[in-house]
Amino acid sequence: MADLAVRLGGIPLRNPLLLASGIWGESGDSLAGAWAAGAGGVITKSIGSESRRGYPNPTVETYDRWGLLNAMGLPNPGIEEYPREIAAARAQGATVIGSVFGSDAGEFARLARRIATTGVVAVELNLSCPHAEGYGTEVGSDPADVERIVRAVTSEVTLPVIAKITPNTSDPAGLAAAAERGGAAAVSAINTLRGLAIDIRLRRPVLAHGLGGLSGAAIKPVGLACVWQIFERVKVPVIGVGGISSAEDVLEYVMAGARAVEIGTAVTFDGIGVFGRIARDLSGRLDELGFARLEDAVGTAHPARGRPAGAPAGNGPTEA
């Protein structure tokens, strides 16, 4: 049986399958439930300075089993209330990563400092927030903002910091490189793609907020492209996110360059058992493919890292 344990910017994980932020992450019992179901680690809902209700419903729209659009509006109990949930999850043995969101570097740093005291093994920065400094678009789409925020956080906390990159950009690798310069121990990619659904009978957007974020199988190709480009650009480990629901999906991300992955929407369509199933299948698939350890497969689809000879150059900008 292939070894699934990975080290991620200094964090030891029993397997590379992390619960993505925003899914099952508001309560400590749910975090613990994902851990018990086999996740290698669990990431909290993104936590802010104050308690937020989020947007009114409808907050989700589904597309068969291949996509999900959401605009939750970052509901969260606030940083003062939330540590009790982390404590509850840790009491049940979970490896917890704390996710935070803020509107500027100072707020990110304050939140990270607070959450770092709760026993989390790392802090993930949600760098695609709606309330942004800069130009009124997402806080995470300008490399200079990203670098400044990550630096502000890494100079405050000693824990590994993970920068979560938006795909709503022309240059994801540039954002990852900025995070690396800022001192990030790892980058995760991707968050959701900006999307919209309209109900033609009601003549209005389905989601109360209007615009939302697309996740699920539909975005897997986009996530893979981001991870591929980021892997070619930065040295820090990459966490692949987007549309993963099988061991094969995990291996695509791993061969594209991911050392760990996050799984979100698959919990909706397949239930929390998806973690145990993928972990089991993953060992088997690695055995078949001749890898003794998951870590040996990282980046192997890249020409320079173990891809079989004779490959056409697998890089370059997009096409059509």
Binding site: E26, S30, K45, R52, G54, P58, T59, P77, G78, V206
Partner: protein
């Protein structure tokens, strides 16, 4: 699946409660709920109070802004409906006690109807603030259930909480199971009354809901998510959840006492 349907029928059940009927194809079972989108307002979880056939229904009590908007809906107006979601009442008990408080009768009435149709004996304990707010008393009687009533002001039946009625019923008769829906503190009381007698209680719970897909964690309830693991919980599962009847979570996910 999500669909937009016109309301075909509107019935005022009590001064604060209205039933809306609409065409909705997917099969549904009593206990299940739908997410009801009131265009321009909010989307709320609502139990199906009519589950059989093409014409489904919900029965809505005015609580706040959105439920008040639902009251104002007239036949021909459009609603967005997705679902049905959640689990269902187990219909195997032969001697049933049904305990409804407030709008709780909305989900219990169609379940009791099916149980009666399957030959079960059904006793009902029905509570409300006053006589005019007793929901579905006639519907329960029409299905051949024995109905005992309690009102807070004593305007009909026993004065006081319905749980006092339940206590008497449990003492007087043997039941295979109790179904209940209403304020959670009431349901907790019902569980406490039935447990010493070894009678399983099935509670239909309410938690704040957003996705209804077991994802967003809004409806977290101990190790469960009410939207997919519930809304109907047996007393065995409830025993493991310390929050039952004590805490719920507000829309931000903060744990707050009832």
């Amino acid at each position: 699946m999500r669909t937009v349907v016109p309301v075909t029928e509107r019935t005022e059940e009590t001064p604060s409660t209205v039933t809306l009927r609409f065409p909705f194809e997917p099969a549904a079972a009593p206990g299940q709920f739908v997410m009801v989108w009131v265009p321009g307002a909010d989307e709320l979880p609502m139990s199906l109070s009519y589950t059989v056939g093409r014409s489904k229904g919900i029965t809505v009590k005015t609580m706040g802004d959105t439920s008040a908007r639902i009251q104002a809906i007239r036949p021909g107006d459009l609603l967005g409906i997705r679902g049905p979601y959640g689990n269902r009442f187990d219909l195997s008990a032969r001697r049933l006690l049904v305990v409804a408080g407030g709008s709780g009768a909305a989900v219990l009435a169609p379940a009791a109807e099916l149980a009666r149709a399957g030959g079960a004996e059904v006793a009902v304990a029905l509570g409300a603030v006053r006589a005019s707010e007793l929901l579905f008393a006639d519907r329960f009687r029409a299905m051949g259930a024995r109905v005992d009533v309690a009102t807070d002001d004593g305007s009909e039946g026993a004065k006081g909480y319905v749980t006092a009625v339940v206590e008497r019923q449990l003492r007087a008769e043997r039941f295979d199971a109790v179904w209940t829906c209403g304020p959670e503190v009431m349901m907790r009381k019902v569980v406490d009354l039935a447990r010493p007698r070894g009678i399983p209680v099935y509670c239909s719970l309410e938690r704040h809901m957003k996705c209804a897909l077991g994802m967003c964690d809004a409806c977290a309830f101990g190790p469960y998510h009410v939207c997919v693991d519930g809304p109907v919980f047996g007393s065995d599962r409830l025993a493991a959840v310390a929050d039952f009847g004590r805490f719920h979570r507000d829309p931000s996910g903060r744990r707050v006492p009832f």
